[in-house]
């Protein structure tokens, strides 16, 4: 009799924990939104809400592919540096095409974006090779890439900032029907990555590899190939984020993008992506990134020092990981 009661109690606790874990991110989002609305009258203004979206778009573009990597059990620390390198390279290409070769601004813009993405793809490919062929842990391989690519960005520009970037800046500053272009790109990519993760065989393999890599290998999934594709996609998005970032900055800055991977990973983990792999959604990541963006925004509006901000971000990420780990442990015991 007692055993039955215990089992029922355990089951109830497990259900509550599962619901809590599943909806924690949304409760947190609503709570922060509500508190921010009361804390600053400027928060709810349309222009401020657009600001939050505009300010989070580039992080989200990096965070979507990072979510896939984390779900499959690996990570990438290089996107911030990749964005800096590919961004300045794209800007230099655009300036050369328009000023030295007389190419039409629209065509030059498209070519510059393609060039940045192509460079990102190459970097992603190199990351993938190092990790899948040479079996270097992803953390170390991408840490090394982060340093090297930052150096390459500084070398490429001679350490200088590129000014007079021309009309391509509209990509970072312009709007279409009132929606900032980076936000529009972010929304399109959100739909794309959601479909990729949920509705394709590739997406299912990502979950399978992260859930149990050995079982995935045993069932015939080519883990190296899937990981290689994931790093290439990450590189491509790093390239896109890079050119958008430079357009937003109105200059080509080789030092830009530092620490962006941290905010992207924070957003993904807050959004419920499990660091042990096998779990996570694009919607969760989007909400996680928006939470990071809202915190940045409200702390600015309240003139709170960045020291507190950094502490809070660290606390949030630790809390999210603890909840994730507890959820996993309770699954094992249940």
């Amino acid at each position: 009799m007692n055993k039955t009661v215990d089992m029922k109690a355990n089951k109830k606790t497990h259900i509550i924990q599962t619901i809590f874990k599943k909806y924690m991110i949304y409760i947190l989002f609503i709570a922060i939104f509500a508190i921010s609305s009361f804390a600053s009258p400027a928060f709810l203004k349309v222009s401020n809400l657009v600001n939050i979206l505009r300010q989070t778009a580039i992080y989200a573009i990096i965070a979507f592919p990072i979510t896939m990597l984390i779900i499959s059990g690996v990570t990438d620390l290089s996107p911030g540096s990749v964005a800096a390198f590919t961004g300045v390279a794209g800007i230099v290409a655009y300036v050369d095409l328009t000023t030295k070769m007389g190419v039409n601004a629209v065509l030059a813009g498209l070519l510059a974006v393609a060039y940045s993405i192509l460079l990102g793809i190459i970097i992603g490919f190199v990351n993938g090779i190092i990790i899948t062929r040479f079996k270097v842990p992803a953390f170390m391989a991408t840490l090394a890439m982060m340093t090297s690519i930052r150096g390459a960005a500084l070398l490429y520009t001679g350490g200088n900032v590129i000014y007079q970037i021309g009309d391509i800046a509209v990509l970072g500053k312009g709007s279409i029907i009132g929606i900032p272009i980076p936000v529009l790109i972010m929304l399109i990519l959100f739909v794309f990555f959601t479909i990729l993760l949920k509705k394709t065989m590739y997406g299912r393999y990502i979950y399978a590899i992260g859930g149990n890599e050995e079982a995935a290998v045993a069932s015939g999934i080519n883990v190296n190939k899937i990981r290689m594709i994931s790093y290439i996609v990450q590189g491509a998005m790093g390239g896109l984020a890079g050119i958008l970032l430079m357009c937003r900055l109105n200059t080509g800055q080789p030092t830009a993008g530092e620490g962006y991977e941290f905010d992207a990973i924070t957003g993904a983990v807050l959004g419920g992506t499990s660091f042990t792999g096998g779990e996570g959604t694009m919607f969760g990541t989007l909400v996680g990134i928006l939470i990071v963006g809202m915190i940045n925004n409200i702390f600015n509006l309240l003139s709170v020092q960045s020291y507190y901000h950094q502490i809070l971000k660290g606390v949030l990420i630790v809390v999210a990981v603890i909840i994730d780990m507890r959820g996993k442990n309770s699954k094992v015991t249940a």
């Binding site: 509550i16 809590f20 924690m24 409760i27 947190l28 709570a31 922060i32 508190i35 804390a39 600053s40 400027a42 203004k45 222009s47 401020n48 600001n51 505009r54 300010q55 580039i58 500084l154 520009t157 350490g159 200088n160 900032v161 000014y163 800046a169 500053k173 970032l245 937003r248 900055l249 109105n250 200059t251 800055q253 080789p254 030092t255 830009a256 530092e258 940045n296 925004n297 409200i298 702390f299 600015n300 509006l301 309240l302 003139s303 709170v304 020092q305 960045s306 020291y307 507190y308 901000h309 502490i311 809070l312 606390v315 809390v319």
Partner: protein, 365 residues
């Protein structure tokens, strides 16, 4: 359920704590600054800038509207000792000299141009009356200045922005570079050293201030016939400067001059040269006039540091902000230069002035 409630409460508490803490910091800065506020003001009044300020205050008195204007202050980065010191001075003056007239909202831009753009966008969303910006990159913020112009928000900047709307209370890194170069040339000429070994320690490569300080200093040296033997970066940081200087000591048997882009690095250089017994007869110069650097000059270790008169600079910016918001015509003051001091052991008067400034701020030990 209890756990869930505690988590929500914890999140709320962390936010509230942070909000309260932000206020406290300002208070702390004020407390530090109040001690000898009169002395610091006295020091500032000796500068030309302060003289022009007095005239300006007289013109403003008539235009005093009794309204409190909201000012957004975008601090370039509070993790750096100099910019943090300047930011604290802004908040101190705002509290002590402008209470009831100016409400200054300070936000840290963390030395990130993108973050600075975000901060400025948020100020616009808050409908501030004016923005004072310690600029990271003037070209990057140009669209924001244009937006401020469209919305009638006054914009005061410390670097030249290519927009007729912006006012400059300028601290040009070009001036720093030239002053470094001029002092180095004078010192080297006096010492008459043949083929001197001159080392240049850069700030963060790619940063506009670092680049300008290096470029204009080297131009002065080259014009006088001197060649910089070696150049490398320590990214503004003392720890990296120590490592770099230790390496340089291995490479060069004779080091005559080390020129650093900021005080944090020069203090690291002095530390290494002292340990190696090579400080005597070596010129070490830099920019910022941090408390530690002023002390080092007073102790006869650091040869020279360049001090931007923070007290006068902050006062000029806040006065300008108030005047512009009150509708006073300051179009003749589109460009004001913040006075700079050359601080050396030989010039006791200037050295004492900076010791007083840091003592008043509670940073001189």
């Amino acid at each position: 359920m209890k756990k869930f409630l505690s988590l929500v409460l914890a999140a709320v508490m962390v936010l509230s704590l942070a909000a309260c803490g932000g206020g406290k910091k300002d208070g702390a800065a004020d407390a530090g600054g109040t001690t000898k506020a009169a002395e610091t003001t006295k020091a500032a009044e000796t500068t030309k800038a302060a003289e022009s300020k007095t005239e300006s205050k007289e013109t403003t008195a008539a235009a005093d509207s009794g309204k409190t204007f909201k000012i957004g202050f975008a601090a370039k980065g509070l993790s750096d000792a100099f910019t943090s010191m300047e930011a604290s001075e802004y908040m101190r003056q705002a509290k002590e000299n402008w209470a009831g007239k100016l409400e200054v909202l300070q936000v840290d831009c963390e030395f990130d141009t993108n973050k600075q753009i975000e901060v400025l966008e948020n100020f616009i969303a808050q409908d501030v009356d004016a923005i004072i910006c310690q600029t990271d990159d003037p070209e990057a913020i140009l669209p924001i200045v244009e937006e401020c112009k469209a919305k009638g928000i006054h914009f005061i900047n410390d670097l030249a922005v290519d927009c007729d709307w912006a006012y400059e209370v300028e601290s040009d890194p070009q001036d720093d570079g030239q002053l470094l170069g001029e002092y180095a040339v004078k010192w080297l000429d006096e010492k008459k050293i043949e083929n001197p070994t001159i080392l240049f320690m850069q700030g963060e490569v790619g940063n506009q201030h670092a680049n300008a300080r290096e470029k204009y200093c080297k131009e002065k040296l080259e014009a006088a016939g001197y060649t910089v033997t070696d150049t490398n970066t320590a990214n503004w940081q003392r720890d990296e400067a120590i490592a770099l200087m230790e390496n340089w000591c291995q490479v060069y048997d004779k080091i005559d001059a080390v020129i650093c882009a900021n005080d944090e690095m020069s203090l690291g250089v002095v530390q290494v040269l002292e340990q190696e017994g090579r400080l005597d007869g070596t010129m070490v110069i830099s920019v910022d006039a941090l408390a530690g650097a002023v002390k080092s000059v007073a102790d006869g270790k650091l040869t020279m540091t360049i001090g931007k008169d923070i007290v006068a600079g902050c006062d000029m910016s806040l006065q300008l902000a108030y005047d512009l918001c009150s509708g006073v015509d300051r179009s003749a003051d589109k460009l004001q230069k913040v006075p700079k001091d050359i601080i050396t052991l030989d010039d006791q008067e200037t050295l004492q002035k900076w010791i007083d400034i840091h003592t008043a701020a509670g940073t001189y030990q």
